[in-house]
């Protein structure tokens, strides 16, 4: 399978990339690892006429701390999230979710920013991003803005990014000491999740679901129950409240709802087990 013809350009700076996006508009796509976009292009489900490669942009492949957040550059690969001491220390949920993406080859190429920009409800990292209440920094020719996780996923494979915006970094609040868990149910090792759950504890618990609707979604009812002091068992029973799972050859919608409750219960028990004891 070969993508439909397109024109290729290599951007050597964020300015050059956003200038090209501004010029070509919705016909253009940015590509970094390409592990969401290229498979769709090979299937001709995506047919951008201009592909702007940003792999040569300098300064986007780092991970650093900035106050109470960690900052992940938009060219950071999944494999780097798995091994990064900063990520493992401050947002271990993100490292654990990244380790579950695809396989080692995929993790050598794919980027966190790319996975978020693709916005696939079946992907692992968007759920971790939601649970951690992260944000993306988006740059266009006219300026820079911060988009919070809750405002980012707006439809199936659709995000709040404008056609002329590029993610330059992903920010995640530090939550060292809070318990965390990533649960993923698959039929085979490298499969996409049939259902997945990302959870983090602490004062403001976060729980988000993989493949339980048209977008990555937050399990708000579970979070609310936890804040009210509900047990893990009781809170997990609410896991599918806001969901709208699809039925496909892998699972019925009813089975997905069941999995969401079971996996959320397991995740919340892990969160409790890993969290620092109350002072």
């Amino acid at each position: 399978m070969i993508p439909a013809p397109f024109a290729f350009a290599r951007a050597d700076s964020v300015d050059a990339a956003v200038a090209a996006l501004t010029e070509h508009g919705d016909e253009a796509k940015l590509v970094a690892g390409g592990h969401s976009l290229l498979p769709l292009m090979k299937l001709r489900l995506a047919t951008p006429t201009v592909l702007i490669d940003v792999n040569d942009v300098v300064g986007l492949d780092g991970i650093h701390e900035d106050g109470d957040e960690i900052v992940v550059g938009s060219l950071v690969r999944h494999a780097a999230l798995v091994t990064s001491p900063v990520v493992r220390a401050h947002t271990p949920l993100l490292a654990a979710a990244a380790a579950e993406v695809g396989d080692p080859q995929v993790r050598h190429r794919g980027t966190l920013a790319g996975s978020l920009a693709h916005g696939d409800p079946a992907a692992d990292l968007p759920a971790a991003f939601l649970a951690l209440r992260g944000s993306v920094t988006a740059r266009s020719a006219t300026g820079t803005r911060r988009i919070e996780a809750d405002d980012f996923f707006v439809g199936f494979l659709e995000t709040a990014l404008a056609p002329d915006e590029m993610i330059t970094e992903v920010r995640l609040p530090k939550c060292a000491g809070a318990g965390w868990a990533f649960e993923k149910f698959t039929h085979r090792a490298q499969d996409w999740a049939i259902v997945g759950v990302a959870a983090v504890g602490g004062d403001r618990p976060g729980v988000a679901l993989v493949n339980m609707g048209g977008t990555p979604i937050r399990a708000a009812a579970v979070e609310k129950a936890l804040r009210s002091g509900a047990t893990a068992d009781a809170a997990a029973e609410l896991a599918d409240t806001e969901s709208d799972p699809s039925a496909d050859r892998n699972a019925s919608a009813e089975f997905r709802r069941h999995l969401a409750r079971v996996l959320t219960r397991r995740a919340l028990l892990d969160v409790a087990g890993r969290g620092a004891p109350a002072a």
Partner: protein
Amino acid sequence: MGPNSGGGMQASDTVAIEVEVNGRAEAHTVAARTLLVHYLRETVGLTGTHIGCDTSSCGACTVLLDGESVKSCTVLAAQAHGHSITTIEGLASADDLHPMQQAFQDHHGLQCGYCTAGMVLAAVSLATEHTDLDGPAVRVGLEGNLCRCTGYHNIVAAVVAGAAAMQSGQPVAP
């Protein structure tokens, strides 16, 4: 395509690429949509890299990009510009097989052989990134490579032995 305004960046249907393949400098102009696996097989003429599923699932097309395993069906040839690629043809020295190749031979880590090039390169990358690989770690590490013949037992044994040999720098004991 017309030239871009601003930064002088021009989008083009064809791309001039310079890639180091198995230590040798290659320079070609390719269609922008050329996949790395097709470039390696058809332009460079190295057919040891196989096309299996063509959907980044099976790992038969695995090559090393700057030493890291990637699925060459899901990388554009244009994205290899300025980088180094190692295919199965580039592992052995003039006299000896690479320790991982030798281990696959010693442990008979193959049947039909179609997946083998990708398995060996994925294993080399895995052994470069992880020390003390044991059987369970190899099984996890090879999740991106499918074999439809062997049941994996000999492959896992080969990778454990090959990884140990790579780290010790000694030849593989059969």
